[in-house]
């Protein structure tokens, strides 16, 4: 989609949708009118139009999947007033609220294993890899989207160029899991792991460690005590980099990024966060090249939310099968009723309900 087509699409959207797109992308979007809002959204996403496009499509799809009051047929003005359009007529005298809500059967529909499909990388994965040829990349996508594929593919390319790759995770346990996983993919001689007191395969081209260990290596290198091949370092992958906001350890991610050698590319993999653009802008301001942000917020495997009552009754949590983004209040009447009942029974009397 070209930028003009995208703009056309945005113009057709209600302002509420635009505001939701603007969240996390545009600062203080609440003050802007529709025109200005579109302008700002496009401007702030100029680096990542594909991400914007996928978010718009997701929002449109979501709105369409919501039960909408039937549109009044186009009629000459003045006649519509005779019979104001109502929601779909209640069937069998059921209460109106229950009517609009999804049934459990519909909510459970589609459960199961999909037919096996050949592996085709997602557009955002390709986009991140292509960008990484040129510059640093920040990826912010929902959990379970496939960030590891980007890490593995990027590492393969760097290793093919005889570069050293460092992959960090926030926890030793995760490092161990990745060590096993990557050893299977790359072959055991290609992968090493470093901890405070141990090195396994320290000469391998792909090295796994916690972010603290890398920070220490970089400090040693800065003071001239290189004991790892930092001169051939071509790529540094920081997985779970939303940890930069961790109260105790976040500072280690900042130190690592500040001291990362400029010849090495940085690949930051993060779960969905509110302000990935800030992270990308920050990298742009301190690193040799303009950092690319690859983001989207649509889950690959659709997620549905349910409510299970202690008596074993399962009901959808929201009125719609899909999670109604931005509408925390659109609860399924049945879930609402059951939870209310639960609170009535379990709350010690006198405790205020929040």
């Amino acid at each position: 989609m070209t930028i003009d087509e995208l703009e056309q699409l945005l113009v057709q959207q209600p302002v509420a949708v635009l505001h939701r797109l603007a969240r996390g992308r545009v600062h203080r979007h609440f003050r802007a009118g529709k025109r200005r809002l579109i302008e700002m959204i496009l401007q702030h996403s100029s680096q990542n139009l594909a991400g914007l496009e996928s978010d718009v499509q997701a929002l449109i799809a979501e709105r369409q999947s919501q039960p909408q009051p039937p549109q009044p047929p186009a009629r000459p003005a003045g006649r519509t007033a005779v019979a104001p359009p109502r929601r779909t007529a209640p069937r069998g005298g059921e209460p109106e609220t229950a009517e609009a809500a999804v049934s459990l059967t519909t909510w459970l529909e589609g459960i199961g294993v999909p037919a096996p499909q050949p592996f085709v990388p997602d557009p955002w994965q390709n986009e991140a890899l292509a960008a990484l040829d040129e510059t640093d990349v920040v990826v912010s996508v929902p959990t379970g989207s496939g960030k590891t594929y980007v890490a593995v593919e990027a590492a393969k390319r760097a290793i093919a160029h005889n570069q050293t790759v460092i992959y960090t995770s926030p926890l030793k346990a995760l490092s161990n899991t990745k060590y096993t996983e990557f050893s299977k993919i790359f072959g055991p001689d290609k992968v090493g792991i470093l901890t405070g007191d141990r090195q396994e395969n320290g000469q391998a081209p792909l090295l796994i460690m916690t972010t603290e260990i890398l920070r220490n290596l970089l400090y040693d290198a800065a003071s001239g005590e290189i004991d790892i091949r930092l001169d051939t370092l071509g790529l540094v992958i920081l997985d779970e980099s939303q940890y930069i906001a961790d109260p105790e350890r976040g500072v280690v991610w900042e130190e690592t990024i500040i001291f990362c050698p400029s010849q090495a590319k940085l690949l930051l993999l993060s779960a969905s966060i509110g302000n990935p653009q800030d992270i990308a802008d920050w990298l742009t301001s301190i690193r040799p090249t303009t950092c690319r942000l690859v983001r989207h917020s649509k889950r690959t495997v659709p997620l549905r939310a349910g409510y299970l009552h202690p008596n074993g009754k399962l009901v959808p949590l929201f009125k719609t099968a899909a999670i109604p983004s931005g509408h925390a209040g659109h609860l399924h009447p049945e879930a609402k009723r059951l939870f209310f009942e639960y609170e009535e029974e379990t709350l010690p009397s006198g405790r205020p309900r929040r």
Partner: protein, 619 residues
């Protein structure tokens, strides 16, 4: 009705709806363990084929991690296809369970939410039973990001067409937090940059002092501080424009002139009566409680809508917008935290003190604030400014009463003063934002100079040269102990005991083995030192019981892992983590080979002794 669903019913019901495999997030390890126990006599056993598959998969893991073989949960795991996975378990056990989940052998795993990132395996369904999480001491509501991280484990790519996140209530649940988490946008994240002693030493090792400010400026912290400074600069530009009509008049600085004149006029009769009880702290803090400012009160946060002084006592007061949308009046002295966050606030002279649009937006902003916010550094002036008597006496000297500009000054004064004060406030805030990291760095430099790690010219001394290699928490305590030669003659078990007590930051009680007299007296020394360092570094807990446990593992090389676990009520996962962290600390001490060969050797021997049995299984 039971307060929450019975685990056996839960699993039966998930199976019946084809919602397995599932991860069931529970509030505590204990809840996970109890859930597992409740399957002891359950009859929802797996068909033999699946039991065999689990046994075979476990067999494969055990060849790599022998410690898994002895786990007491194995019978339940095989019979029912459910397992527990939390921080009380050994890493090898957690790896085994993750492997079983990956191979699709299990129907459910009971896990804790303490580290959503620690559970890095997906399932078809995620069961959520809580809306808050224990962070250090108390429970805080899950953030939107955290809810999505947890719910995000539902729905495996390639194995599920749809994923399900199911809430089942427990007495700890607030449905609103979860529905907001499902439907909301993840919060923006904020830098948590902090400057530690090792950071200062390592920066100064590699770079001259005058380059450090430029390096700190590269932090995400400074990037975000700049963003806020720029916002204020734009406001400052606006204020300049508004100030234009109030330029120089008969006197160049007519605002100050009029202010003094006016103040003197008013103060003369009732001098020293107002505000006499007000502390300079309160005045300084009150200065920042301006409309739009986020403040922390006893019952949660609020945004200041106006500041004023009470009618009779002239106490500093503020009107605050609260989370529930209410506007409350509150004495400024009740404000706990003044956060480094201010929103635009379109002020109006009457209740609710800002325009309807601003009110809506502020209410919204208040709900969207991140859980952690930096507080504003506030400097308290040495003495509050009371006009010297000399000026008061000299009222007759003011030109104002007969000045031609008097009516204009009188009319404009209030507006002009307010604008100018705002300018000052913004200018000060901008300076603070731009320079705060550097100030924090300088503070650390001064401490390191005081202790002799840095020379007066901020170069590393001989002590600084080796101290910079200790890059862990409580580094100052550790390096000071080394300098005090506290470890001279200490054997590996004593060193390990001390290091273990420094690493351990959990105050949960338990029963532990007896401590040796040697370690006990050494710990007494460490405690004294830590106490004396407390103005510069938060002292660690230094628990003797925990130290004794680590000491035992080293002192008695024939002690088996199971034997060690029997000596204490601590969970084996915690013992493992204690020893693993101690190992990390010891390996840092080992890096001091060049300057402290004896100590480094002791550390190295301790490392070898720790690394046995279970502690050898993983790198």
């Amino acid at each position: 009705m039971p307060p929450s669903i019975h685990p056996v019913d839960l699993i039966a019901s998930l199976r019946q709806k084809h919602l397995t495999p599932a991860i069931v997030f529970l509030t505590s390890r204990r809840a996970c363990d109890e859930a597992m126990q409740s399957f002891d006599h359950a009859d929802i056993v797996l068909p033999p084929v699946r039991q065999d598959a689990i046994a075979a998969a476990l067999e494969r893991v055990i060849t790599q991690y022998p410690s898994v073989a002895e786990h007491p949960l194995i019978p339940t795991v095989q019979r029912i296809g459910v397992a527990a996975h939390h921080a009380g378990h050994l890493p090898s056990w957690k790896i085994a369970i993750e492997e079983l989940m990956r191979q699709g052998c299990l129907d459910a795993v009971f896990a804790t939410t303490t580290l959503a990132a620690g559970v890095d395996f997906p399932a078809r369904t995620v069961i959520i039973t809580q809306s808050s999480i224990r962070k250090s001491r108390d429970f805080t509501d899950l953030t939107i990001g955290e809810v999505q991280q947890i719910a995000g484990r539902a729905g495996r790519r390639g194995k599920d067409q749809v994923g399900f996140a199911v809430i089942t209530p427990s007495p700890y649940i607030d449905l609103g937090v979860l529905t907001k988490g499902f439907t909301g946008h993840p919060e923006s994240i904020d830098s948590q940059f902090s400057i530690s002693y090792p950071m200062v030493l390592n920066l100064l090792k590699a770079h001259p002092h005058e380059q450090i400010q430029a390096i700190l400026a590269k932090s995400f912290a400074q990037f975000q501080l700049n963003q806020r400074a720029e916002l204020l600069e734009r406001k400052l530009d606006g204020l300049h424009v508004q100030m234009e009509p109030f330029g120089p008049r008969v006197c160049t600085d007519w605002i100050s002139q009029w202010q003094t004149f006016d103040q003197v006029r008013r103060q003369r009769p009732q001098r020293h009566q107002i505000r006499k009880h007000e502390s300079p702290e309160l005045s300084a803090r009150f200065h920042f409680m301006t409309p739009g400012r986020v403040v922390g009160l006893a019952r949660g946060r609020g945004i200041v809508l106006r500041q004023y002084r009470s009618k009779g006592q002239k106490n500093p007061m503020i009107s605050v917008l609260r989370l529930d949308g209410a506007v409350t009046e509150c004495p400024a002295s009740n404000v706990g935290d003044i956060f480094d966050r201010i929103f635009e606030c379109d002020e109006t002279p009457a209740f609710p003190w800002c325009s309807a649009a601003a009110f809506d937006e502020l209410s919204y902003q208040l709900t969207e604030l991140p859980t952690r916010l930096p507080t504003l550094p506030i400097m308290v002036p040495k003495d509050s400014e009371v006009l010297p008597d000399a000026i008061v006496q000299s009222l007759g000297d003011f030109p104002c009463p007969s000045c031609p500009s008097r009516p204009a000054c009188q009319k404009d004064f209030a507006t002009a003063l307010r604008l100018r004060q705002e300018q000052h406030r913004h200018t000060k805030s901008i300076q603070a934002l731009r320079a705060s990291l550097w100030h924090r760095f300088q503070e650390r430099v001064e401490v390191l100079q005081k202790f002799g790690y840095l020379s007066p010219s901020a170069h590393l001394t001989d002590e600084g040269e080796w101290a910079r290699l200790i890059r862990i928490d409580h580094s100052l305590l550790i390096t000071e102990m080394i300098r005090a030669e506290a470890f001279t003659g200490a054997d590996p078990s004593l060193l390990t005991g001390v290091m273990a007590s420094i690493t351990h930051d959990d105050d949960r009680p338990g029963s532990f083995p007896r401590i040796s007299p040697g370690l006990s007296s050494l710990l007494g020394q460490v405690r004294k030192l830590a106490e004396s360092l407390s103005p510069y570094e938060e002292p660690p807990l230094l628990r003797a019981d925990v130290a004794a446990l680590a000491e035992r593992w080293i002192a008695d090389p024939t002690l088996t892992w199971i034997g060690l676990c029997r000596l204490t009520t601590m969970a084996e996962g915690d013992i493992y983590r204690l020893l693993a962290r101690t190992l990390e600390f010891l390996s840092q001490i080992h890096t001091l080979r060049a300057t402290h060969p004896g100590l480094a050797d002791t550390a190295s021997r301790a490392i070898t002794l720790i690394r046995r049995g279970v502690l050898e299984e993983l790198p």
